[in-house]
Amino acid sequence: MTVAQERDVRGAPIAVPPPTTDMTQGLRNIAEYGLTIVPNVLSGDSLKRARDALYRAADSDRARSREQKFGLDYAHDDTNRRVWNVLSRDPVFEDLAFHDIAVAYVKAMLGWPALLGNISANITGPGGGEMVLHADQIFIPEPWPAEPQGMNVAWCLDDFTEENGATRFVPGSHRLNRAPGPADSEADTVPMEAEAGSIVVFESRVWHKTGHNRTQAEQRAGVFAWYTRPIYRTQENWFLSLRPEVRQFASEEALILLGYKTAGLGLVNGASPA
């Protein structure tokens, strides 16, 4: 079968880089494509625990009519589901948000300290529609600074396939250093296919969207941990919503990512809140 060769924003063949556990290569991938895939971060029991916890939370929200829509989602279906602030839903999500590999990428890409802006889940279901093509740092007015101001670590808790709504990317679009406009809506995208247990690390300027789920019966769950440089307001107001034990048992790194350990901004009486 021949596949039409799609081109990226500079006319280069469109592709995503192969998965790698080598962080140096991973950072090179992010510089070139805007994203990299790290395979097998979760496997066996750790994957099952995270997946079970997420579907339990999603089912609970649906049963109680607590689901919240998101403005960037396709509005006209009820098959795609979001679960917000998973950090407060089960301790297994602390393992994800503060995972060594995730934090190592945060430090390399954003510097330190950094903040966890949000960690939420997106489960596509059969027939689920696409999101609006966007970059995650669109809240920052242009012209954007030279470096990315945030990044996502997407945890694939199911296999991400083209058919089941894998996140679709415009590789290399981060190098344009601007948000996509209406004229970019037809930009060629490539599905970020990855096996369950992988993470996809992508910087905040690369254009992407949830894919269309064309399957009859498959769901695919992803947990998206969003990190920013420490000067930005978090999406989730941790001081309002965080389950108290998360803070109580948090590591130093986690306290920094949640804004409890800080310097310069986010102070109480001129000093760090914790």
Partner: protein
């Protein structure tokens, strides 16, 4: 054009404006008295009013927690004129990042030259993302330590644009007690030195930012339950206490189909 519209227009053009007679003399004196009470309360609670990281000597008295200490300051931070100027520069939505006082007593010295925006956010600084509303509780003169600023410096979009002789371009914000001075976050400035023998220079700095920036103070963690309970919805929004958080821009975008129209057989 009304005086306020003229002030807003000057703020936009020049990066600053002074509005005189915002507080009548009696209210200005009351505010100054209450500020000294806050300074005493601050010390009593173990929060020092001299910070060696900020000031070279104890002649600067800093008070950091005005919003918690006194309802008078909770009124000043949302004074309609202040809010008008803030919204004229930053847009309708904004955050209150901090509200502090700096009393420069005789012998106080200058800080380093900076713009508030340059200390925090990366280049380029094309738009105002922050501003100070400065309340003058005493007359402010060059001699008693008026804030020194560089005219038109809010147009410098990078550090490289700063002239080598920047320090020679400084001039004072002079104003009478009861005035407010509004200053774009991109204006390069420093506190002046108080070279008088016996005059205090008392200023309150209301610092406001775009709503996507992290406030200097974590109001959720800082304010007492009693103070929080005293705030109305608008103040809660401006202090970022609730769940609105940093999603405002995203939720204003429309759905794909609404944006581009329905399509057959999309992928």
């Amino acid at each position: 054009m009304s005086a306020i519209a003229a002030a807003a227009s000057q703020l936009k053009r020049d990066g600053w404006c002074v509005v005189p007679d915002v507080l009548p003399p009696a209210e200005t004196r009351t505010a100054l008295d209450r500020l000294w009470s806050c300074a005493a309360e601050s010390e009593r609670r173990g929060m020092p009013t001299f910070l060696p990281v900020l000031d070279p000597n104890a002649s600067n008295v800093r008070v950091f927690f005005l919003l918690e200490f006194d309802a008078l300051f909770r009124q000043l931070i949302r004074h309609p004129l202040a809010v008008d100027l803030v919204q004229s520069l930053l847009g309708e939505t904004f955050l209150i990042s901090n509200f502090t006082a700096n009393i420069a007593r005789p012998g106080s010295k200058s800080m380093g030259l900076r713009s508030d925006q340059s200390l925090v956010v990366p280049e380029p600084w094309v738009q105002p993302w922050a501003l100070n509303i400065i309340w003058c509780l005493t007359d402010v003169t060059f001699e008693n330590g008026a804030t020194l600023f560089i005219p038109v410096s809010h147009r410098w979009t990078t550090r490289a644009e700063m002239p080598r002789d920047a320090d020679t371009l400084l001039r004072p914000f002079e104003a009478k007690a009861g005035s407010i001075i509004a200053m774009d976050g991109r204006v390069w400035h420093t506190s002046g030195a108080n070279i008088t023998k016996d005059q205090d220079r008392a200023l309150l700095f209301g610092y406001y930012t775009k709503p996507f920036l992290r406030p200097q103070v974590n109001w959720n963690a800082a304010l007492s339950p009693e103070t929080r309970a005293s705030l109305d919805g608008r103040m809660r929004e401006w202090l970022g206490l609730d769940i609105s958080a940093n999603t405002g821009e995203a939720v204003q975008l429309r759905y794909l189909e609404d944006q581009f129209g329905p399509r057959e057989g999309v992928r």
